[in-house]
Symmetry: C2
Subunit: 301 residues, 2 copies
């Protein structure tokens, strides 16, 4: 998986910082997660091909997470896109976009498909043969979901020496990769696990922004390889967190630790902080493998 | 007057070009004209104080002219603005903005006042003691207005030698500046024009974007000091202009000439052109005093 941060600051776009948006590359898919104002320019700056984006996930309807969406949809139209575009986001997002298209008398010439979310339980919202996406219900001032991206199990790998020694016909290799036991040329049943290796571990990425400290996400994101968790505040401003329903770096680290994730990426910093290293200093005593998101940064895992 | 171009390219925001937005400073007012995506960042880059903007004029509801508006309104809220903000634009603009505020559960803490436009005739939409703003109905694919900004006549200037020679009491100077005839200390009536000079010429600025070639604007913008007129295309692509209801540089120059304006500023270039000097070469044989708009450029007149 490859995660390209396009923007990771809270509130308003500024000269050198962008509101939330990120691109996750997974099994040859590009998923766009949130789409603050300026995202289409950030996509250009990060040299991401617009045509590869087929699915956009919007966490909630605060402007710093979606004000760039209508412009991106409109730009796709101007670029004469033909491929379907799927938008996953809170109920209301379809009305916002279609109202603006109606008043501009500019409908997309490609299929624009909205998947409006209302559930307060985690649900499977996207699935193909390689990837699943589940919602992560978050605790914010408006209806908000994070998203859990999970690779599906890949094929088993042939232990080619064992396969040949077991005298299995090549015609059965496909079945072996799929996990089946097969008969060899002598008519003996060969147990799959004796001639194959387990597939690569399935990677998972959990995106949690924006949210107050919320332990109910832990079972959903348990053991994720990478967790992006908002840390709008430092503990010295912890009194602001419950009211605004945001988290501190310490709280993000606590969630990461309790969920036993592999890596924590912090972001959604309040613009009041100049020294972002303070976020690392606050989080790392609780959870060691912590990184700072920044606009344009790429994480591979 | 001072015109600060924030963005002047058509269609989509790109890495180094911005969609339409400009700030007109006139008699100590700052008027924002159109507000494409990224305008708030352009305001920051051009060091324009957000608090000074009290009136925003939106020409039409195509995204490259207003997708930045909702974000700017939202940023004003985050900056704890208290002053009224007036938005002038086509009917529908209020619904677009209020729908997004409703779904974000984020209402402005300052008065947000919409002046929705529907008239197809030029009308006076703003007036104070120093400035008037009139609409300029344009010919585009959706309902569109340009805007004519007119200084009101200033006070007459005292010819102080003549005033003293005419033996006029200082108490009457104010009336003289306002154009009245007054009695002097000897009870004689003094004709105003014998002791005062005319006020400075009233400046006018006409903004015309987006529009097909449309001679019906000429009586409205007649003798304007400066005309911004869109020139999406060059004549070599003139066949695209009627269909998209845009103009060529030659057409913009023709309007400038027929309206006898002082200066023509071209903008709203299609992104297909790399060499903008071609716009000057096309327009200048028809209208000599022609300039190219560019993002960040300032014109004083």
């Amino acid at each position: 998986m490859k995660l390209n941060i396009l923007g990771c600051y809270s509130a308003t776009p500024r000269t050198f910082t962008n509101p939330t948006s990120q691109v996750l590359e997974i099994k040859n898919h590009l998923f766009l997660i949130d789409c603050g104002e300026g995202t289409q320019v950030q996509l250009r700056k990060n040299k991401i091909k617009f045509a590869r984006i087929k699915h956009i996930f919007i966490s909630h309807l605060h402007g710093d997470h979606y004000f760039g969406l209508v412009g991106l949809i409109s730009t796709f139209r101007l670029l004469t896109r033909e491929a379907e575009l799927h938008i996953y986001g809170p109920k209301g997002i379809k009305e916002i976009i279609t109202l603006q298209m109606k008043l501009a008398d500019s409908w997309t010439n490609y299929p624009l498909i909205f998947h409006e979310l209302t559930s307060k339980e985690s649900e499977l919202i996207y699935e193909d043969d390689k990837v699943e996406v589940h919602t992560i219900p978050l605790l914010h001032r408006v209806y908000t979901n994070g998203f859990l991206f999970k690779e599906k199990p890949g094929e088993r790998k042939l232990n080619i020496d064992a396969v040949e020694q077991a005298n299995i016909d090549q015609a059965y290799y496909r079945k072996l990769k799929q996990g089946a036991d097969v008969e060899n040329k002598d008519g003996e049943l060969i147990k799959n696990e004796t001639v194959t290796y387990s597939p690569d571990k399935q990677k998972t990425y959990a995106f949690c922004s924006d949210t107050a400290y919320n332990e109910s996400v832990i079972p959903i994101i348990k053991n994720a390889d990478t967790l992006y968790h908002e840390s709008t505040f430092l503990e010295k401003h912890a009194h602001l967190a419950p009211k605004t329903k945001h988290s501190t770096a310490k709280e993000a680290a606590t969630i990461a630790k309790k969920a036993n994730v592999g890596k924590l990426i912090l972001g959604h910093y309040s613009t009041r902080y100049d020294d972002l290293d303070e976020f690392i200093r606050e989080a790392s005593p609780i959870f060691k493998n912590v990184k700072l998101a920044d606009d344009g940064k790429i994480f591979k895992f």
